[in-house]
Amino acid sequence: MRDPRRRSREQFEAAAIPRNRCARYIGGVPKISSPKISFPEISSSKTSSSKPASRRASLPEPSGSPQHPALPAAFAAWFAERGWAPRPHQLALLAAAQAGRSALLVAPTGAGKTLAGFLPTLVELAEGSGKGGLHTLYISPLKALAVDIARNLEAPVAGIGLEQRIRIETRTGDTPSHKRSRQVARPPHILLTTPEQLALLVAHREAADLFRGLKRVVLDELHALVTSKRGDLLSLGLARLHRLAPGLAMTGLSATVREPDALRRYLVPQVPQPAMADLITVQGGARADLRMLETGRTLPLAGHTAWQSMPAVYDLIRQHKLVLVFVNTRLQAEYTFQELWNLNDDGLPIALHHGSLDATQRRRVEAAMAAGVLRAVVCTATLDLGIDWGDVDLVINIGAPKGASRIMQRIGRANHRMDEPSKAYLVPANRFEMLECRAALDAVEEAAQDTPDPRIGALDVLAQHVLGMACAGPFGEEDLYDEVRAASPYADLTRDDFLLVLDYVATGGYALRAYERFAKILRGPDGLWRVRDARTAQQYRMNVGTIIESTTVKVRLARRNRTKPGSVLPAGGRVLGEIEEDFAETLTVGDTFLFAGEILRFEGLHEDEALVTRGPPGSDPAIPSYAGSKFPLSTFLAARVRALIADPFEWDRLPAQVADYLVQQRRRSVLPGPRDLLVETFPRANRYYLACFPFEGRLAHQTLGMLLTRRLERAGMRPLGFAANDYGLAVFGNRDLSERIGREPGFLDGLFAQDMLGDDLEEWLDESAMMKRTFRQCAVIAGLIERRHPGQRKTGRQVTISTDLIYDVLRKHQPGHLLLRAARQDAATGLLDVARLGVMLARIQGRIIHKALDRVSPLSVNVMLEIGRERVYGEGADEILAEAEAALLDEALA
């Protein structure tokens, strides 16, 4: 018998989304500016050293009588027709542009940022100052956003009567190649594109002609662009643009960030001397109406599913028009979607949106949101940024918030009018997450930000860029070095490092000069570097970009083989999306798991596809969708959580069950002070455990776990493995740790001594699987290993040679190689979070509180529950092999 709810969902998916209607709908909505109701505060500051302070006078008055000296009549009329008025920050940006200055606009969502960014361009083009040719380049982190903005520009352009005079086009990975060639030969006035496309454009042989007349670059969601290697690549592309188009002005659009100065530097050349773009800030808007969802039900000590809260979440969906339900991982999204549909007696249209789903399915969900036919969308970070697909009136964040800025960004997805409060709920999934939610509420209340620090430009990205510049045309060493240092992430690049990168690009950068005759770039008698041949340039173009996708396999619905019951045919079915190869590997035939909102039965791997059939209705998926957050807890929230725990006077602000839990912990063990590290040791089921709670995020804890395991191994404590989560970690082994710590004063201090970040770290890094993964990314970005090769089919599984082996050989024979340095630099901040661990170890010196217990404490239960759930990291491959061998022996003797 079929489950009626399942049927209703299928009907909905198949029929309820009127595709053509949505397209019209999106096209006709001017979403860029919202109606005038009240003006927000505006402040602007200019501290750029090189320019005279008197320019301040040219900014419009912050508020009061709207003057638009710079606004042409057609524009003023367009605003007036709608009953709107240009906002002060829109005019301020216009004034900066007319003075030829770069500027950063920091504003909350709903402030009309995008129109502000384009207004100067539209005004200039309307006045006819663009003689034809490319005038403005718009760059966004998402190609969908670029396409959306292009659509949204149609309304004002038509309203002002410019549609005959301004050509606006997009260029993304999906743009057909004939159109791309035409865009270079006959460029539009405004081109909307992505960082990867910019890299390709500046590496084009015609780049100099294309960009000579460029007046402005608008960088949207700049705060999101600059935090990754993508931002490094973009900064290098912008540095080239500054050189090709002297007098070019940048406009950065950003949400509120902790350090706007870093973004201001990013926008302008840092040579001949450091400089910053102007800053225009729009204050707050309405305060968000943010609460923690309290259902009165007892939450578990660990786990991320939040199933206890699902009925309450469902009720909220019923009471609102359109709800975005954010979760942290794809598996959580699948689980939440499934649970909501189990409760969905009203048959509400609830959809699912995450990065692993097939793109057409995602587009349909987005269109349905915009058309107003959905009541809720369960989504991951894929909807964090940018596009307003519909009139969202509530945001629900399930699970830990992880960072204050992240949660504010998500809240901002609701109610895109800055003068009305956004409404949002935080839904903790366990008692620790209640602490984290409380800390996040406090942070949002204070509008405190925890956006990441500015980056130091990665060397692997620079290597990619250098090859691209050789593809564009001959370059001189000195010229390119100066140009690269104009990009703020590379402002401190030494000449030696630059030359190392150049050598790497040419011949691989090996001490053994084996590849001179195969060099990719060559220096001619004129001293200029040139690309070797057209094939090398083609290889560059095929491998551009910094986003290394994890290897995935397609999930295909298989058809049952009618002639052979119980078997399936490998072809013919629909592709549902993609899953990580790592996950696919853990499946055996017959396993059921959640994907695309359905329970699927795994039928086997066929070539690079996972074949599945629909699982029996009403059954529970066998593979648990546990998965914590992939975002580590921010340092800032961690400190707040520690402070909350340490201060009993704060506990009455916590849900009673969390306060009780902390009271229990204080009774059975101890509660650490905000700067202390609590270490508990206890026996359990023939093993001995050490649990500690640094609150530094999962990545730092995994690194710490590896290092502690190493040291315990050397101390003869026979550790077997460890498990870590965002709050702490537990190491377990065969020897009594309480006894050893009691017997040997200083043992624990030695275990956590700062010098573990020296040799121990180096030694471990050498063998670390995470380090190898990091190295692989650097090797691909820097072009040592190609993702794609001319003549090969397009797939992510193209790396035919094991980067692990390359890593091993390289570190043995040339440990100082450029790519190993790049990987170590990444490790310090990325996967291993060594930098954060270092700060923590310094903090806890002399502040370790040890408690030897008879059994697991309330606090430790949380991390103990990760064992066997999270992957257990540990050492001693031979112990694993010996155990497998023993099984053979048992088999032989049985």
Binding site: A514, Y515, I880
Partner: protein
């Protein structure tokens, strides 16, 4: 755990036998035939790095040849074989010998000095027939053993081959260990690849089901010794 673990470095496993011959699986990845004082190594793939640089512009570290020869040197110094057999695909391509670095060429000459040296030809290096010392052959018979690069279609008692670069993967308690291995049933042996930049094929793939229709034991090369592991304990990639 009842089984006493011996994790100190012992280079040999308790011998397996094939066609009446004693086999010792060396930690280096070589096969030691003590009764014949013969060391067999398979799939060296020398000059693989430079082959990539020449053909596709991917500059893999040029240290693979040095690394492979260093491992071989270590095993030779320890075992002092009277005869050394390279079981095919000794070079990654036919131009490999020509691209050899002077120092690497000298290393090979030093290894060949004072012992018999046989290059069995493989699919990658069939065109290499001289100029690198030693003698060349397609198959070689040693006692009851027949040595060739690629396993024959039909199982042949006493066959020792390479070509497939077998690796085994053990997954336990959420950890996975993936290592090169010797694959053996009562009839034939497939050797692991010896080269530093050679990847591997999981022994749970169909290829090995066909080669060993009655199942096999894999001898995985650990950090300190070689471990005999039943097929049922091994997982797919």
């Amino acid at each position: 755990m009842a089984l006493p673990l011996k994790l100190e470095k012992t280079h040999k496993t308790p011998g397996a036998t094939l066609a009446g011959e004693t086999l010792a699986f060396d930690l280096s990845g070589g096969l030691w035939l003590p009764e014949h004082r013969t060391l067999v190594v398979s799939d060296l793939h020398l000059e693989k790095g430079s082959a990539f640089a020449a053909r596709s512009g991917q500059f893999l570290p040029p240290y693979d040849t040095r690394e492979t020869l260093a491992s071989l040197h270590e095993a030779v110094a320890r075992l002092d074989p009277a005869r050394l057999v390279c079981l095919g695909d000794s070079f990654h391509d036919a131009q490999g010998p020509a691209r050899l670095d002077v120092a690497d060429r000298a290393l090979i000459a030093a290894l060949q000095d004072g012992r018999d040296w046989v290059w069995i030809s493989g699919n990658h290096d069939r065109a290499v027939q001289d100029g690198i010392g030693g003698c060349f052959a397609d198959t070689l018979t040693i006692g009851g053993l027949t040595l060739r690069h690629e396993p024959a279609a039909k199982p042949e008692i006493g066959e020792v081959a390479g070509h497939f670069h077998p690796v085994g993967k053990v997954a336990m308690r959420g950890r996975a260990v993936r290592r090169r291995c010797f694959v053996l049933d009562g009839t034939r042996l497939v050797m692991p690849a010896f080269g530093a930049l050679t990847g591997g094929l999981n022994v749970r793939s169909e290829t090995f089901d066909k080669l060993f229709p009655g199942g096999f034991t894999a001898h995985l090369i650990g950090d300190g010794r070689v471990f005999a592991i039943a097929r049922t304990m091994l997982t797919r990639d």
